[in-house]
């Protein structure tokens, strides 16, 4: 083989690199991208409100079954001006956050154990999956009998809602790690612990984040169910109790306001916390998120 000049070979390679490097097309300005993402849901909501207004105006159902959109808005606005909304949010959201954090503390070791220890997987794996499909509200009566009408009963219900889905998310994240990665890790000198820390956990992160997202949804749902059923003056006034009061007072606009606020908090936390987290993790790995 004729000895190629080193310099020349380098430039061939540089040219090849330039040709082979994947190109990423940008999709227009930031304003346009935000508009493209924000406008469709706003349009959908506007359409929904318009249909609602039309149904109400046509008096399709009596007023005590379907309130006017404006009446519901008045309810919410009253909560805002009186400052009562802060208490409602604080009581419910701080419970959900504490419940979620507790779930995380329990679910992560549980998930690691299920994923890594065969006996544990065969033993409690199906149990944890089964618990995920059991509505955690089913635990409310038992929790009230065990703990009484207090925060502990509520946390118990939230934990049983969130722990299985976070643990399962971690397990499926770990199961989906391509087997070549731990092998490469071993060849690079990873021990058992450093292999988990530097290879397995980061590789499982996308699946784990999916589990976290679902865990949050479950803990918020369970919390609302618990608050709705377990009402007591000792428990303070959360969004669930507010909803319950609306039912007791036969005030349909209050009930709608309660539903709306619960929806807004649940979706808001997903959009503000979990979605950006997930997107940044996926984007860093080159997994396409532009379609979302």
């Amino acid at each position: 083989m004729p000895q190629l000049d080193l310099q020349e070979e380098g430039s061939v390679e540089a040219g090849l690199d330039a040709l082979d490097t994947p190109v990423h097309s940008s999709e227009g300005s930031l304003a346009r991208r935000i508009a493209a993402r924000v406008l469709p849901p706003i349009g959908a909501i506007a359409l929904l409100v318009a249909v609602w207004q039309a149904l109400w105006a046509a008096a399709f159902w009596p007023e005590f079954k379907l309130p006017a959109p404006l009446a519901v808005w008045d309810q919410i606005w009253q909560l805002v001006t009186s400052g009562e909304i802060l208490e409602l949010f604080w009581v419910s959201v701080h419970r959900a956050v504490i419940g979620f954090a507790l779930s995380l503390l329990i679910a992560v070791p549980l998930g690691l154990a299920i994923a890594n220890i065969r006996v544990v997987r065969r033993g409690i794996g199906p149990l944890v999956s089964g618990l995920q499909s059991l509505p955690s509200v089913a635990w409310v009566p038992a929790a009230i009998l065990w703990f009484g009408l207090n925060d502990r009963a509520i946390y118990w219900v939230v934990l049983l809602g969130a722990v299985p889905s976070i643990a399962n998310g971690l397990v499926s994240g770990l199961d989906q790690v391509p087997p070549i990665l731990p092998r490469v890790g071993k060849a690079l000198g990873a021990g058992r612990l450093s292999g988990i820390r530097y290879i397995l956990l980061p590789a499982a992160l996308p699946g784990f984040l999916g589990g976290l997202k679902q865990g949050w949804a479950f803990s918020w749902r369970s919390l609302m169910a618990a608050e709705l059923i377990a009402t007591s003056p000792d428990l303070g006034q959360g969004l669930g109790q507010f909803l319950h009061n609306g039912m007791s007072l036969s005030d349909i606009s209050m009930v709608f306001a309660g539903i709306l606020l619960i929806f807004v908090v649940g979706v808001g936390i997903e959009l503000l916390v979990f979605r950006p987290l997930e997107n940044s993790v996926l984007r860093a790995r080159g997994l396409n998120v532009t379609a979302r």
Binding site: P22, A187, R285, G286
Partner: protein, 264 residues
Amino acid sequence: MTATVEADRAVVDSVSPVRFHQVGKAFGSGRLTVVALEGVDLEVAVGEFVCLLGASGCGKTTLLNLVAGLDQPTSGRIELSSSRPAVVFQEAALMPWLTAAGNVELPLRMAGVPKARRRAKAAELLELVRLAGLGDKRPHELSGGMRQRVALARALASTTDNTGSGAGKPSLLLMDEPFSALDAITRDVLQGELLRIWRATGTAILFVTHDVREAVRLGQRVVLLSSRPGRVVRQWDVDQLPEAEAVDEINTELRRVISSHAAA
């Protein structure tokens, strides 16, 4: 047992990074046993470039896994006097959450090398594979050939710890069909690159391939393995032969080995 191993090491230290003694490897047990390797004797000298050649099922990859410590032989023994062998797989298998430089630093991080030294070492190795300045790119932003070069730099980082017990020992690079997933042009360029890096680092290389031309172009010595079970059939010092002649001769022998399986 430990004492004899230590003694062996002392003797071979100056001789060769890896030496096989009648190594065998079987998978499964009873009637379902598949013998992947049988009675393999092989030695790689300091700084030598050896290509392992064979059709599929000849246990090339198994053999490499044994040297890399990813698997244990069922009989015979492997003397390894090099520091931990570096491995490059068929896929680059870069960690997708780390940058190119982060991937090269990974083995150093797991070995507890301080940050500043890690950085410097990674930059130096990326420079060696001609990727200086691309250290902060993510794997998905690189082409296949570039990824494979990052994998090579990362493998070299895992073997060149001059601090620990590996200091001063001959290093060994194991490559498992590293270019077979690349297009022909990139493969050709990377083969040239590998030869340059081999000369620059003086590392011994054990290179697995099923491509006769590649084996002849790269290796100083080509070792032909038979299939099921894998045995060393013949070896050629291809440095001593004209390239075309060597390719013809090895091809003929390879065909003979493969067609012997049709009869069985």
